[in-house]
Each structure stands twice: as structure tokens, then as C-alpha cells.
């Protein structure tokens, strides 16, 4: 098991541990923190999966 695979746990931690983001400040472009933080995890997760696939799989 390559260590890089552990990076795939990050979205689980970042999104399932609510004290990290159950808050409204700082807002971004009018979006309260709660919303933009979760939306930001979308591209971030894509990127993580891509990196793990390209680096760890070979």
C-alpha cells in the first residue's frame, strides 16, 4: 500500500469533521464560509484523485 493513497482520506476528514467548517465567516464573494469551503473541496478532491492515480498507480 503506497503512502500516497492516504491522501484520499483528506476529503473525508475535511468534510466529515464539521467543527472545521460549521461557521459563516470569513465569507467569500457573498458566500458564507460553510458554502464556499465545501464547494472548494470539489476541485480539490478531483485534483487529489488525479495525483494519486498518476503517481501512486505506477
Amino acid at each position: 500500500m503506497k503512502k500516497l493513497y492516504l491522501a484520499l482520506l483528506l476529503p473525508f476528514v475535511g468534510l466529515l469533521w464539521l467543527p472545521l467548517y460549521d461557521r459563516t465567516e470569513p465569507a467569500l464573494l457573498g458566500f458564507p464560509f460553510f458554502y464556499w469551503y465545501q464547494l472548494a473541496w470539489v476541485p480539490l478532491t478531483s485534483l487529489l484523485v488525479w495525483v494519486v492515480w498518476k503517481r501512486a498507480a505506477r
Binding site: 476529503p11 464539521l18 464547494l39 478531483s46 492515480w53
Partner: protein, 497 residues
């Protein structure tokens, strides 16, 4: 919801004409797919024809898979129900967002392995894979039954999605539902999995246009996103200062997201989409690309807040999105958006019916395997069941059943997913876990009045958690316990896992 009367003015015939145009175009394109693919008709009992109808010949490349899985994972019901939940509960309804993010690392790790096993063994369903792994006909039937029962209410909800928009166009009574059913039946019968696969792109482009227009135009009306969030907050329960969720909602939020993510790709329709891919790398590439839909889902969820800000008031929350569109868009564009939702229901409902048909012809009545004619009839039967569910029971029954369906499908997780790990459990342990988890979850869910979360009391602390996840933990606990106490036969050597 069945006797919903639109609270906003009924749109003109313009909306109806645009709606019919786009809806009909998609159905005609999908139904004639085998004709213009130049394949002619596959022989009725031809094995290749059956695999072609039920799994698209396992030849879907990256883009087709992206549209197909995106099309049947993010359904019309999503477009109706997620904003409805956000409208009713505020920030809590957004748990669909973490759910549809964390599902992709899971898809990336698990689904290519399942695809490989299915490809090597010519398996078409989850139950096929489990039978090959554990060599147990009983376990195979259990997994197939879970899939079949879980997917039926899901189809019913798609029909309800179509009915919601046709009703909003002003067509009353049961006509909308009959129209929805006949279109769906013709579409699946003729095109097989190729029909939803090749029309999914129309659906997606239409939904993208509708939603992007909504999330651009509405905040402009309301004075930007900041103003939109502020106005919406005045109509919703107020969380403690500085927080987005109400006290006690954090754990339900996280556990519902997790249990939904674990269940999402165990359904017959999502798994059918995955197994129809051309290669394991097609799936990995899609785990990277599919989150684009999640961004769209986040925006769709915002519609629930925007409805508050735009002053849409209704007790029938499933009418939120149609009402919002009618309130802010010109008639012709409302017609277009409604067509997008209706087509958005057609694509997943077709894949669901096909996935269910695959389960029946491969697992429940294996004598019908490789019989494309039987598959068509079974898919029709499944849809009739869904129609009956909507006509003779009621919409709420379908929603409750879908909740239970999610709980039941999650109980196939150990056999299907733990089955591919190096851990060796006997078929008996898996079966006992499945029975205990299913019974326990169903009991708890009924006992709580069909709510998705259960209140646990641990050491004087009260905490609500997802009932599905709780049942899964009980299930896995049972599997481990039985596995340790009753050393059964080791797994069948039929597969290389």
C-alpha cells in the same frame, strides 16, 4: 404533493410548446438509437445482443461513461428534492454536497476492481460478483433482492419528477404520469442502455443551461449572493451566531453524507453505468471528472435558498424549483427548463429499469440469462411496478420507500466491497450480517417514524446519527462475530479477487 395546485400563474402555451419539442426530440433520438447506429436489431435470444442491450456491450468510453453515470447519479429527483430539502431546512440540506464529493475517492479505489472482476467473469450485476466470490446462491439472491427493492421506489420518484413539471405546465390529473410512463417504456424497450447513454448529453447540456441561467439571473435580481443568503436566512430557523447548522445537526449531517456516499454506487443503476465502461481506467478517469457534476449539484441546492429570497411560498416543497422557474423566467425558457427536468428523469429511470432487469435475468431467474426479449419484458414490468407505486399508493410512500431502499442497499456493502479485500469471510457470515443489518435497520427506521436518523443515547449524551450507517455497523459487527465464532468453508476459488 399529488394534488398540488401551482401557486404561481400557469405558463402560456409557449412554455408547453417548447417543453413538448425538447422532450419529444429526446425520446425519438433515444428510441431510434439502434437504428441510426446502423446495427439493426439484435436477435432476441442472442447473448451478445443481451449484453449490448443491458450493458451497452461494455464498450462505453470516458465521455459516454461520464454523461451516463452523471446522468443517472444526479437525477431529476435530485433537481427537485435537494432544493426542496434546502428550502425546508436551510444549510442542513447541503449534506448532498459532501456526500457527492467523498463518493469519488471511494469510486476511484473500489469500482475499477469490481469492474475488472465483472469483466473477467462476464458478470452483469452486483449479485453476480457476490455469487462468484462466495459461491452462495442464497447470498446472491439476497443481494439481488436488495437491489431490486431499492431501485423500484427510485424509478417511482423519477416518474413523480416528470409529473411535477408537467403538472406545473397546467396539465391536470393522471395524464402527465401516463405520458411519462409511455415515453419511458418506449425509450428503454427499443434503445436499451444505448438510449440513456446517448441522450444523457442532451439532458446534461439542458440542465447545465437551466441551472447556470438560474444561478446567474436570480442573484442579479436580488442584489448579489450576499444579499441572497441574507434574505433567505430571514425565512429559515436561525442557527447560533456564527454557525451555519443548528445545534445537534453536525453529526446527522456528517453521517448522512457518509452513508449516502457508501450506498451511492451499490445501486443497480449506478453499478450498471460503471460496469458498462470500456476499461478500469475509464472509471478512474471518471472519478476525476465526475465531480464537475457536484459543482452543479451545489448550485442546484442553492435554488432552495433562492426560492426563499425570491419570495416563493408553498407548502408543497417539491414544487419549489418549478415555482421558482415560473416566477423568474420568461415562459419559453420555463418550458425549456421543465423539459430539462423531465429528460433528466428519463435518463436515470431507463438505466434503473435496465439495472433491475439485469438483476432479474442474471440472478433471480438465471434461466433468462442472455435473453434480450426477457430483459425487455422485465424492464417493462419493473416500470409498471413503479407506476403502480405512484398511482395506487402515493408520492409519500415512494419517498419513504426510497429512504428504506437506501438503508437496504447499504447492507450489501460488506458482501460486495469487503468481498474484494484480502479479508476472508464465509458466505454464512455475510448472509447473517445482511439479515441482521436489514432487519435491525428496518425496525429502527419504522420505530422512529421513517426518519433517516436515529437518536442514540451514549453515556447520557443524546446524538442523532444516520440509521443506515448504524445498521451497516451492526451488519459488519455481525459478519466479524459470525466469522470468528463459526469458521465456515473458506471462499470459493472460482475468482481471483
Amino acid at each position: 404533493m399529488p394534488d398540488h395546485i401551482p401557486s404561481t400563474p400557469i405558463p402560456s402555451t409557449q412554455a408547453l410548446v417548447v417543453f413538448i419539442l425538447f422532450f419529444a426530440m429526446t425520446i425519438v433520438l433515444g428510441s431510434t438509437v439502434s437504428w441510426w447506429r446502423g446495427r439493426g436489431h439484435a436477435g432476441p435470444s442472442d447473448a451478445a445482443g443481451s449484453e449490448d442491450w443491458g450493458l451497452g456491450g461494455r464498450q462505453f468510453g470516458t465521455w459516454v461513461t461520464w454523461f451516463l453515470v452523471g446522468g443517472d447519479f444526479y437525477t431529476a429527483y435530485t433537481v427537485i428534492a435537494v432544493p426542496a430539502l434546502v428550502y425546508a431546512t436551510g444549510a442542513f440540506g447541503f449534506f448532498a454536497l459532501p456526500y457527492t464529493i467523498i463518493v469519488y475517492p471511494f469510486v476511484f479505489l473500489v469500482m475499477p476492481i469490481l469492474w475488472q472482476i465483472a469483466h473477467d467473469g462476464r458478470h452483469a450485476t452486483a449479485a453476480d460478483i457476490v455469487r462468484a466470490r462466495f459461491g452462495s446462491r442464497t447470498l446472491e439472491l439476497a443481494i439481488a433482492a436488495s437491489g431490486l427493492i431499492a431501485v423500484m421506489p427510485y424509478i417511482a420518484l423519477q416518474l413523480i419528477g416528470i409529473r411535477t413539471v408537467i403538472e406545473a405546465l397546467g396539465l391536470p390529473g393522471e395524464i402527465p404520469l401516463i405520458v411519462a410512463f409511455i415515453s419511458l417504456a418506449a425509450y428503454t424497450w427499443l434503445g436499451g442502455l444505448h438510449a440513456p447513454a446517448l441522450t444523457a448529453f442532451i439532458k446534461d447540456i439542458m440542465i447545465y443551461i437551466a441551472v447556470l441561467a438560474a444561478v446567474t439571473v436570480i442573484p442579479l435580481h436580488l442584489g448579489g449572493y450576499g444579499a441572497m443568503f441574507a434574505t433567505a436566512a430571514q425565512h429559515l430557523p436561525r442557527p447560533p451566531a456564527g454557525h451555519a447548522l443548528m445545534p445537534g445537526q453536525s453529526v446527522p449531517y456528517a453521517t448522512l453524507a457518509l452513508s449516502s456516499a457508501l450506498a451511492a454506487f451499490l445501486y443497480p443503476h449506478t453499478l450498471t453505468g460503471v460496469l458498462a465502461a470500456r476499461s478500469a481506467d475509464t472509471i478512474r478517469r471518471n472519478a476525476v471528472m465526475l465531480p464537475v457534476y457536484t459543482l452543479l449539484l451545489g448550485l442546484i441546492a442553492m435554488l432552495g435558498l433562492m426560492a426563499h429570497a425570491a419570495g416563493v411560498v408553498t407548502t408543497s416543497t417539491s414544487a419549489i424549483v418549478p415555482d421558482l422557474f415560473m416566477a423568474i423566467f420568461p415562459d419559453w425558457f420555463t418550458g425549456f427548463c421543465f423539459a430539462a427536468i423531465a429528460v433528466g428523469a428519463l435518463v436515470p429511470a431507463a438505466v434503473m429499469a435496465i439495472g433491475a432487469a439485469n438483476l432479474v435475468t442474471s440472478n433471480i431467474a438465471p434461466g433468462l440469462r442472455d435473453n434480450v426479449h426477457a430483459s425487455r419484458f422485465v424492464a417493462l414490468g419493473v416500470k409498471l411496478g413503479a407506476l403502480a407505486c405512484v398511482l395506487f399508493l402515493n408520492a409519500h410512500f415512494a419517498i419513504d420507500l426510497q429512504l428504506l431502499g437506501g438503508l437496504w442497499i447499504l447492507q450489501t456493502f460488506p458482501a460486495l466491497v469487503l468481498g474484494i479485500t484480502r479479508l476472508r469471510f464465509s458466505a454464512r457470515a455475510m448472509l447473517t450480517g445482511w439479515i441482521v443489518g436489514t432487519l435491525y435497520g428496518t425496525y429502527v427506521c419504522f420505530h422512529d417514524g421513517l426518519k433517516p436518523t436515529h437518536m442514540l443515547a451514549i453515556g447520557g449524551m443524546h446524538q442523532a446519527i444516520s440509521t443506515g450507517l448504524l445498521a451497516l455497523l451492526v451488519n459488519i459487527g455481525t459478519v466479524v462475530l459470525v466469522g470468528l465464532l463459526v469458521p465456515g468453508r473458506s471462499r470459493s476459488d472460482a475468482t481471483t479477487a
